[in-house]
């Protein structure tokens, strides 16, 4: 059984659409390996997932993907320049020590980068802080402030500012609600109405 035969999580489905057939992919924080398993089965993609959680490593091995148990916070120095077509980091940006350094590294290693993160600029977190004076807890950000792994939260505008200052070009942007659906409203007001942001990046 590979991931190709079971439905892919919605955000991963959007990412999968962006990845060309036969690409060499590095998946940072690959979780249970379902994205790579799906890409291997449907798009003849090859590559590796990086994952720190031991149970996820076992799940990825079970899914038949190459998984390397490594900590993203140790950096990616061991990977050679341009050794992958696409480097993906889905929902891990806000959990790493140095997100800016990691994004630069992604685009050193791969021709294309795909990054997704929960948008802290969404109206709900804004309202939580402005109105209730509380750190937001939501479906996209389910943890309390004291036990959250999300140590580097940012907004859509923050992220694009970071890209601009690092000469990184945004080639595609997709902003969706927590059910990973896009609408006219999330397209017009991405920073206010988008809960999850998906970016496709290239060196500028």
């Amino acid at each position: 059984m590979t991931g190709g035969s079971k439905p892919l999580r919605a955000d991963l489905r959007i990412i999968a659409d962006w990845i060309p057939r036969g690409a060499r992919v590095l998946d940072l924080g690959c979780g249970d390996g379902q994205l790579l398993a799906h890409l291997q089965a449907d798009k003849q993609v090859s590559g590796y997932g990086l994952e720190i959680d031991p149970d996820n490593v076992v799940a990825s091995i079970g899914a038949g993907v190459n998984v390397l148990q490594l900590d993203l916070d140790d950096g990616l120095g061991q990977f050679e320049d341009n050794s992958f077509d696409v480097v993906v980091m889905a929902s891990a940006l806000q959990q790493v020590q140095q997100p800016d350094e990691l994004i630069r590294e992604m685009l050193r290693i791969g021709g294309q980068g795909i990054v997704t993160f929960p948008n802290f600029g969404h109206w709900r977190p804004r309202l939580s802080i402005a109105w209730h004076g509380l750190m937001p807890v939501s479906k996209a950000l389910p943890n309390q402030w004291y036990d959250t792994p999300n140590i580097h939260l940012c907004t859509v505008r923050d992220f694009e500012k970071l890209c601009a200052s690092n000469h990184i070009r945004v080639t595609q942007r997709h902003v969706v609600n927590h059910e990973h659906a896009s609408s006219l409203r999330t397209r017009v007001f991405p920073n206010l109405l988008g809960e999850i942001a998906l970016y496709q990046l290239e060196r500028g």
Binding site: V58, A59, G64, L70
Partner: protein, 382 residues
């Protein structure tokens, strides 16, 4: 065999392959004829695709699982925690083969065996043997068993080095390579430990230049010291602290030099029981094989280039508390395989006991092996 646990392979019997075709060795010498002693567990399937080769480490042998009839109450084989019905190396699904390495202390031809020309024990005349020599002898066994391709070649420590050698030298002969608690080459520190062990043996007055058998003695003190030193390096500081702390055997200091701390008593016991079963010349040979292994050395120190011929899928496993073959060393293997574009997974098992953890059954370790081998089993027994 009701007396054995349900997940044991039960009573096993070694088999012997007598080879008369000479084996050319890396040192330039050759073994004109030799015996390979091995055990097998499980059944070879109809298309002979479910065979797993196990490569043993320094103090291992062909007895990897189950029990021998002459020692039914004794300990099971050295990797019994992982080999058996329902265990990660599931003998209901795989045919597991474990040969004793040439130069070993029992089973296959080694320093204690009789030289075919003189009839006397080889002793120090047994040629220095390498990981490559072992793998070439295992290839003879493969041929004899009629196995075109191993589903898996697996091994820990020195065994992991043989796995890498298989993947490099006979790429088409294995589908999967399990490299556990290994290193791509020994560090200077690691060679240094081996050298102290060897010096302990060769300076023992009873060593007699390796001809101790002809003198009817055993270099007990030297071999015991070698094992005591080795044993410390196979355990972590935390493990020794947890097991012994500073506990005193008599509960008080005796202001003397006999055994006082529990750890001293333990080490002496380990050393003494090792002397009972192991051979000093074998210890010298095994440590040399460890020191010499260096596939990158043949490629301007480029490990990636050394792995270029490999086609197997790799699973590399290390243990966080292992300082003799640390995770950093396993990551060198992984990095080289990734750079060479090979299929590889890597698991770093959080552990406390040290190098010897690869022989045990930490849940994360067995889950990892199980998840990997489950896929292999479905591949070979669709």
């Amino acid at each position: 065999m009701g007396e054995f646990p349900a997940d044991s392979v039960g009573l096993v019997e070694p088999q012997t392959l007598h080879v008369t075709e000479p084996l050319a060795l890396d040192c330039g010498k050759q073994l004109d004829e030799y015996e390979l002693v091995y055990e097998t567990y499980g059944q070879l399937n109809a298309d002979r695709s479910n065979a797993i080769l196990i490569c043993h480490a320094l103090s291992g042998s062909h007895h990897a699982a189950g029990y021998h009839a002459d020692t039914p109450d004794g300990k099971p084989g050295w990797w019994d925690k992982c080999i058996g019905p329902g265990k990660p190396l599931d003998t209901n699904r795989f045919f597991v083969v474990c040969p004793a390495n040439l130069g070993g202390y029992k089973g296959s031809t080694g320093p204690a065996s009789a030289h075919p020309k003189t009839g006397r024990p080889y002793g120090p005349d047994f040629p220095v043997i390498t990981v490559g020599d072992w793998v070439r002898s295992q290839a003879v066994l493969r041929e004899h068993l009629g196995i075109e391709q191993w589903a898996v070649v697996a091994g820990g420590s020195l065994g992991g080095m043989q796995v890498m050698q298989w993947a490099i030298e006979y790429p088409e002969r294995l589908k999967h390579a399990l490299v556990i608690a290994a290193a791509p080459r020994l560090s200077a520190q690691n060679i240094a430990f081996n050298e102290i062990a060897r010096q302990a043996i060769v300076t023992d007055p009873e060593f007699h230049g390796g001809r101790y058998a002809e003198h009817g003695v055993v270099p007990r003190r030297g071999l015991m010291l070698a094992r005591m030193l080795g044993h410390i390096t196979y355990l972590s500081d935390e493990a020794m602290r947890a097991k012994f702390g500073r506990d005193l055997r008599d509960g008080r200091l005796n202001y003397g030099f006999d055994v006082e701390f529990q750890v001293e008593s333990y080490l002496r016991h380990q050393g003494q029981s090792f002397v009972e079963r192991f051979d000093a010349n074998t210890y010298l040979l095994m440590t040399k094989a460890l020191d010499y292994f260096d596939p990158a050395g043949l490629h301007d120190d480029n490990l990636q280039a050394a792995f270029a011929p490999a086609t197997a899928r790799f699973l590399v496993i290390s243990f966080t508390s292992d300082w003799r073959f640390s995770p950093e060393r396993s990551r060198e293997i992984v990095d080289a395989l990734v750079d060479a574009g090979k299929q590889v997974s890597y698991a770093e098992i959080v552990s406390e006991l040290g190098h010897d953890e690869f022989l045990l059954d930490l849940p994360q370790y067995t889950h990892t092996l199980r998840a990997y081998l489950e896929r292999v089993a479905r591949e070979v027994n669709p």
